[in-house]
């Protein structure tokens, strides 16, 4: 009964760095807390009313040097800690490269995780140790939050937009996964596990199609993709691409309409008709499918019909994987 944990496991690189920051802040807090707590008690005891043995002469009630001291010292410490924490946060959450990407869709009250090769997991996320992982999150209904305490990371899954988080798992094992944004009745049950496997085991697991769920030959909302066997996310995306008729205009040399070359979309800087330039990332692709008129590619007309309401989040995730694969195959990179 007394064998209970007091600290979480630390199983990611980012988590290790955050841990250090956490304990430094805690140390500072203990130091200052002790100064105040024990200082106040000491003073209140020493100067208690019936103690006449103590010197109360020259009891000034103002001292500029002390005021400056206890203003400037906390201020300097505050600025240092702020800067350290802000830099660490920016390093962790700003867009990074060279990652293994997983899409996670939150909905009341479960997590759907999609691997690029098509493997899907519910309320579980299996990951390789030692590689940078990117989780792209979105919600289908209310705001949820994807939290992995062992990695010290968390991000909100917001309906209507993608949020991304990056981390590098280090230690194989099983770790808690929680929803940490109150989302209704079964908020407490929207939990799961993150399973970290050594790289080779992970590859084997992926190739075996993951354990548990059958691999995808049909997508979540029942639309059957043509063909059987194990499909990667990108391959599912290709099927969805055709099923939705995207290939009438895109990647079609006989297209009646002049359209942007989507093999060049992923990762490049897209010039817009209004003069801005945006990054061709997941959010841009998702928005351009749902509401193409929001960001018109320079030199092209606003002719693409909006697919808002026509395509599920899961299909969007597949399409994005597919469009990414087009860019990858073009450059030959990963």
């Amino acid at each position: 009964m007394w064998n209970f944990p007091l600290v979480p496991p630390t199983a990611s690189e980012e988590g290790a760095a955050i841990s250090i920051l956490y304990w430094v802040i805690t140390a500072l807090a203990v130091i200052f807390g002790s100064i105040v707590l024990f200082g106040a008690i000491y003073l209140a005891v020493r100067y208690r009313a019936d103690n006449n043995a103590v010197d109360r002469s020259n009891a000034v009630d103002t001292d500029m040097r002390m005021e400056l001291a206890w203003t400037i010292v906390p201020l300097v410490l505050a600025l240092v800690m702020f800067a350290w924490a802000a830099k660490l946060y920016a390093d962790i959450y700003a867009p990074r490269e060279g990652y293994y990407e997983v899409f996670v869709i939150g909905k009341q009250w479960m997590w759907h995780c999609q691997h690029p090769n098509g493997v899907r997991e519910n309320n579980m996320l299996t990951l390789p140790a030692g590689r940078l992982v990117k989780v792209t999150l979105i919600s289908q209904d209310v705001i949820h939050a994807f939290s992995i305490p062992a990695f010290r990371v968390k991000r909100d899954a917001v309906p209507g937009r993608y949020n991304a988080m990056y981390f590098t798992p280090t230690k194989p094992g099983e770790y808690h996964l929680f929803c940490t944004e109150y989302c209704g009745t079964k908020h407490s049950e929207m939990i799961g596990k993150v399973i970290v496997l050594p790289e080779e085991e992970f590859q084997a697991w992926l190739e075996k199609g993951g354990r548990g769920l059958a691999t995808a030959t049909t997508s979540m909302d029942g639309n059957a993709a043509a063909g059987g066997g194990t499909l990667t996310l990108a391959q599912q995306g290709e099927q969805t691409f055709k099923a939705l008729g995207c290939n009438a205009c895109h990647l079609n040399p006989n297209s009646a309409v002049k359209v942007p070359d989507i093999t060049k979309t992923w990762g490049s800087d897209i010039p817009l008709a209004d003069g801005r330039t945006v990054k061709g990332d997941e959010a841009y692709i998702r928005e351009s499918i749902l509401n193409p008129g929001a960001k018109i590619h320079k030199g092209y007309q606003n002719l693409m019909p909006p697919y808002q309401g026509q395509v599920s989040e899961e299909q969007l995730v597949q399409l994005i994987a597919y469009i990414k694969s087009l860019a990858d195959s073009r450059t030959g990179g990963n």
């Binding site: 008729g245 606003n302 019909p305 909006p306």
Partner: protein, 275 residues
């Protein structure tokens, strides 16, 4: 005695028995009339500041969504009647003038004049509300109230007539193209589904009714207060009261000018921009 002299010298003695005098004007808690008047003024200004924050938050939300959905909002706002809006602007401005005259009359203790100007203000405010009634009525008739039976039909119709909307069909689905017609040529800026168009124009009318509705509520409250003030002014006139407390009128005047200023912002933001 001038108002200033009265203010500076009217005071109160503590008799210590819990009863205080002062013709009912000076509150027990105050020492001088000047102090009381200043207190009421600062209090009223503080109230006005918080009203600014109240309206400010919804103005900000409106601005955010207008930026996001500028084309839909612009097409929707064509349904607003600029003539009624301008008339209302003029009416409110005029009512602020009559209100200011009423305050001055109150300061001068000319109660009949005070009552008349207050009454004119009340009438003008009533005119404003009457116009609102007609405006809102037309909106309800055209199913533009964002309730259960909202329909963007009118917006679509008028936009088409102005050459700013075109309906296209593709793969059996209907889309709206929003843009401009220049030299007989339709240039599309954006394409939306009918559902999106309905949602976004509905949002515009949601903001329209919330903002003008809250404002109208403030006008109504103001009218009630002014009605009370008219009664009191008239009684003061009939009783030939030499000195009455003008502060309630001044404070109501401040409130009324706030109500006017909120409209001065509402009118261009809702009715005018993008026209």
């Amino acid at each position: 005695m001038s108002v200033q002299e009265i203010e500076k010298t009217a005071t109160l003695e503590h008799t210590g028995d819990g009863h205080h005098h002062g013709d009912g004007i000076l509150g027990e808690q105050f020492e001088t009339l000047e102090q009381q008047n200043n207190a009421y003024l600062i209090g009223m200004w503080a109230f006005i500041v918080q009203e600014v924050l109240f309206f400010g938050a919804i103005f900000t939300s409106y601005a955010i969504y207008r930026y996001k959905y500028v084309l839909e909002f612009t097409l929707a706002h064509h349904e607003l009647n600029v003539w009624f809006g301008s008339l209302n602007t003029f009416v409110l401005l005029l009512s602020s003038y009559t209100m200011a005259r009423a305050v001055r009359a109150a300061m001068q203790n000319r109660h009949k004049k005070q009552a008349i100007y207050l009454f004119l203000t009340f009438l003008l405010a009533g005119e404003f509300m009457l116009n609102k009634y007609f405006e809102y009525g037309a909106k309800f008739e055209h199913h533009l109230f964002p309730g259960g039976d909202y329909s963007a039909h009118e917006v679509v119709k008028h936009a088409k007539e102005k050459g700013e909307l075109r309906i296209v069909e593709e793969n059996g689905r209907e889309f709206y193209e929003l843009g401009k017609t220049r030299d007989g040529q339709f240039i599309a800026f954006k394409r939306v589904t009918p559902e999106e168009f309905e949602q976004r124009t509905r949002l515009f009318f949601g903001f329209y009714f919330i903002m003008t509705g809250l404002h109208g509520l403030h006008v109504l409250v103001g009218m009630i207060v002014i009605a009370i003030l008219i009664g009191r002014a008239w009684i003061d006139h009939l009783k030939n009261k030499p000195i009455a407390d003008y502060m309630p009128v001044e404070m109501t005047g401040l409130y009324w000018h706030l109500v006017d200023i909120v409209w001065i912002f509402l009118f261009p933001l809702l009715y005018l921009i993008g026209r």
